[in-house]
Symmetry: C2
Subunit: 223 residues, 2 copies
DNA sequence: TAATATTTTTAGATTTGTCTAAAATATATT
DNA sequence: AATATATTTTAGACAAATCTAAAAATATTA
């Protein structure tokens, strides 16, 4: 089955939204795709015709098994290319998304599998997101939101859920990256902000909003 | 200046043809692009409007300075990606063209330059074709067509001008690749075929048509 | 539950890239 | 030079992806 670049982008957009909400609605997908609701409806018809979508007019929609499979192929490619860009070409992790957004549409299956092997079959991308394997299986990781971790417990950053340039820029400022070790020194009731100690850095304070987007796992646990 | 994938493909097609003939005509470009003459005319208008083309109706056309610059960017990307696929991902040199045909349209300039550096700034792609540098300069190489080489002179294969799958498949059969050392043992007047000795292989006979597409340089000369 | 607001779909247009068939131009042949 | 042939362009149509504006359906609120 062949998909256009546009179809692949919509499939991936639906995938991301349904991870959070189960059923997806037209307006939220329009926002995600930076397009208009009418354009979304047009595409929904095409994806339904291609039997990738569970969709009833006015009732919301989500990917069916075939759609999910297609989404995981694109997600795998996106994250493998991001890994390549950071690991081999030494890009900063906050500047690879836009490029991977193009690379994810290169169609050769042979290419993806050789790329994965060349990279050492990584299980997580530079933002800590899991990379599906060639069968679409996603590795599991035991991680918690930073704000739920007890005081003075040393943990390792494993993922970042908000991956806007603004967020990644901020983390860079705090010297926080994937694999960074840190602990919480104090929690401020007033606004939910946290005083944290990043390994080899001075203690600093991060807002609740930032803390809610940082995922960590126990030190020493391998991903 | 931004170009669509289609525009880039046409620009590259014109570039290849004008290398050989100077002026290009509509039908040959249609053949090169596997499309129809009418579609070519449509695109010529667009490229002329973008000031990339010297073009008078019915009189043929060629890229102007701006068009040439655009073509060299695409050619550089195509050949760098081919080098990557063969050198890093261990693809056969006869199976990379189609994939590079997609990869050459990834737009990031930063990506191309980092890729080139990662690959060690190669000057020639896996088919022996020169890779333009970031300013569009093409390395020169002193090479001759195999059929013009004197008998018993040991030479190294440096390029292959016909890069069809069929041709590359045939070369593989003869154990001929870039860098292969060989010499001509005998020339047959009757049909122009050559008896050659490929290093570490038995002597064999190749047709004139094959010989005309193989470029070689003196042994020991570095590219 | 009736009025109001929000969400979603449809109708109709636009742009890009392609095609076929016909017309226009250029080239070759008698 | 006139005619035939080949090449190139135009005219008009179509599919894909997008948009705006209006209509239809659903949800909210008084
Ligand atoms: Mn994309
Ligand atoms: Mn990522
Ligand atoms: Mn291409
Ligand atoms: Mn090549």
């Amino acid at each position: 089955m062949h998909f256009t670049i546009s179809e692949e982008n919509y499939i991936k957009g639906i995938f991301h939204l349904q991870q959070e909400t189960g059923l997806v609605n037209t307006n939220s997908l329009a926002a995600e795709m930076h397009t208009r609701a009418a354009s979304v409806t047009d595409m929904l018809k095409k994806l339904k015709a291609k039997k990738l979508l569970q969709y009833e007019k006015y009732k919301g929609f989500k990917l069916n098994e075939a759609g999910l499979k297609a989404a995981l192929v694109v997600v795998r490619k996106h994250r493998l290319w991001e890994f390549f860009l950071v690991d081999k070409l030494k890009f900063d992790w906050d500047s690879v998304h836009a490029i991977a957004e193009e690379l994810e549409h290169i169609s050769s299956e042979e290419l993806v599998n050789r790329l994965a092997q060349f990279l050492g079959d990584p299980a997580f991308d530079p933002h800590g997101d899991p990379i599906p394997d060639k069968h679409g299986s996603i590795p599991v990781i035991y991680q918690k939101i930073l704000s739920t971790v007890p005081l003075k417990k040393s943990v390792t950053v494993s993922a970042v859920s908000n991956q806007s340039t603004q967020m990644l820029e901020m983390l860079k400022h705090y010297h926080i990256a994937l694999g960074t070790q840190l602990m919480i020194l104090k929690k401020f009731e007033f606004d939910g902000s946290l005083e944290i100690k990043v390994l080899k850095q001075n203690a600093c304070i991060i807002s609740e909003q930032v803390a809610k987007n940082i995922f960590v796992h126990d030190m020493g646990k391998t991903k």
